[in-house]
């Protein structure tokens, strides 16, 4: 349940960002990561970003989560 998936920020408006999450667009709250900017990767958990992550780290995490099925239905 504490799974968080990396997603790239496409745009930010106030506390909300539109991210690209496994090829799908989603809106997430960026209240907890004010340092995140457009183009950054963030770890997204249950609709909000919890940390800014390195793009290479994001890529590796993404592949493992896909294998685990954690991205199903998201």
């Amino acid at each position: 349940m504490c799974v968080a998936v990396p997603a790239q920020i496409e745009s930010i408006e106030g506390q909300k960002a539109t991210v690209n999450l496994a090829g799908a667009r989603a809106d997430v709250a960026v209240t907890l990561t004010p340092e995140a900017g457009v183009g950054d990767y963030v770890l997204v958990h249950a609709g909000f970003a919890i940390a800014v992550v390195d793009p290479e780290e994001a890529r590796k995490t993404f592949s493992i989560l896909r294998e685990m099925g954690a991205l199903d239905g998201r």
């Binding site: 349940m1 504490c2 799974v3 770890l43 249950a46 609709g47 909000f48 940390a51 685990m68």
Partner: protein, 361 residues
């Protein structure tokens, strides 16, 4: 040589230095449902040297939620006509005294699955004629979402939204596990995403007090193996420490997330399946947000804990029993027809063992 085999070589060297083997066994516990699944999926548990065991502890939020909480949620869904129960998916299938939430829904109750607490607030906004109860479960990773939902609901002056909070705190349960004398724990593989919030330094007091290695790791095979290697190395060096190998984690965690939790919730005693009442291990809604606290807004049935007949999820959660050693495992209890929450939840130990270790036996 791949990174993984280099780590494994280092692990074996540290293990030899420790004098590890069948006579000098070690047990490492992970306290995270995502680690449970990742370790089983990768086959890592079977690759460790003889005598070194990686077991699962109380890391699956659905699994550790006490039976009395399930019964309260089902009670609200079935008996309060104005209530809509909004919950994360895995909760709906856990059986309670009066059936599961899924069964309540089949009987006409309004039970909705949501992915985020914010969706439950949106539901309350759209349906002023309903009272939306959000089932607040999960560790420190999840709690900020529920806290932000409550703050949002207050800002919008919604009067039809509340949270039935059974959020859990990691450190108190780790201390409780160390106090149990029937489970051996030589080191903790600490959860990556809880640690993103609470920070890797949060484990220092536990290391200082109990002299047990605490290493934060991510969820790739390489990360988990690296975490295990660092724990064994610390044991071999006789130098337990709070260490982190997962890049997104900072020593101080995410202070903004911790502030959000603290504004809305207050640490409170809480009950865990298999472990009972643990001081300060839960998060209750603060008095200042009483209007958004389901427990204050509704008359709820008394908290009565019990084990489901024959189910040994409590022992599995506490690390006292391997899933495969439960008499029901794979016979009366399967993912298709689960008896207890550890088989219901996709990240429960029993479901993970069934999916990755059991087939082909």
């Amino acid at each position: 040589m791949s990174a993984t085999s280099a780590i494994r070589d280092r692990l074996l060297a540290a293990w030899a230095r420790l004098g590890g083997g069948p006579e000098r066994a070690c047990q490492i516990m992970e306290v995270c449902g995502t680690h449970t699944v990742a370790a089983s999926r990768s086959g890592l548990r079977d690759l460790l040297p003889e005598g070194l065991r990686l077991i699962s502890g109380p890391g699956c939020p659905v699994c550790v939620t006490d039976q009395s909480y399930i019964d309260r949620a089902v009670h609200l869904a079935r008996r309060r006509a104005e209530v809509t129960v909004a919950t994360y998916g895995d909760m709906v299938r856990v059986p309670g005294r009066d059936g599961s939430l899924e069964e309540a829904r089949a009987a006409g109750a309004d039970v909705r699955t949501v992915y985020a607490a914010a969706e439950a607030v949106a539901l309350a906004r759209r349906r002023p004629d309903r009272h939306v109860v959000f089932l607040g479960i999960g560790f420190e990773t999840t709690a900020p979402g529920a806290a932000m939902a409550i703050e949002q609901a207050r800002e919008e002056r919604l009067t039809n939204f509340s949270v039935l909070s059974s959020h859990k705190r990691l450190l108190p349960v780790m201390r409780a596990l160390l106090a149990e004398d029937d489970v051996r724990i030589d080191g903790f593989l600490c959860p990556g995403h809880v640690s993103v919030i609470i920070g890797s330094a949060a484990f220092q007091p536990i290391v200082a007090r109990h002299r047990v290695p605490c290493v934060v790791a991510g969820f790739e095979d390489e990360q988990i193996l690296l975490g295990v290697e660092r724990i064994v190395r610390q044991l071999a060096d006789g130098a337990p420490a709070a260490e982190n190998v997962y890049p997104p984690v900072r020593p101080e965690g995410n202070p903004i997330a911790r502030e959000v939790i603290e504004r809305v919730f207050v640490p409170a005693d809480d009950r865990w399946r298999g472990l009972g009442d643990i001081p300060d291990s839960g998060l209750a809604v603060r008095e200042t947000f009483a209007d958004f606290d389901t427990a204050r807004r509704f008359d709820l049935p008394p908290e009565e804990s019990y084990e489901l007949p024959g189910c040994r999820c409590g022992d599995v959660i506490a690390g006292r029993l391997l899933p495969t050693d439960c008499p029901l495992f794979g016979r009366r209890c399967t993912p298709g027809s689960p008896v207890g929450p550890c088989m219901v939840s996709s990240e429960g130990s029993c479901a993970a063992y069934y999916r990755y270790h059991y087939r082909g036996r």
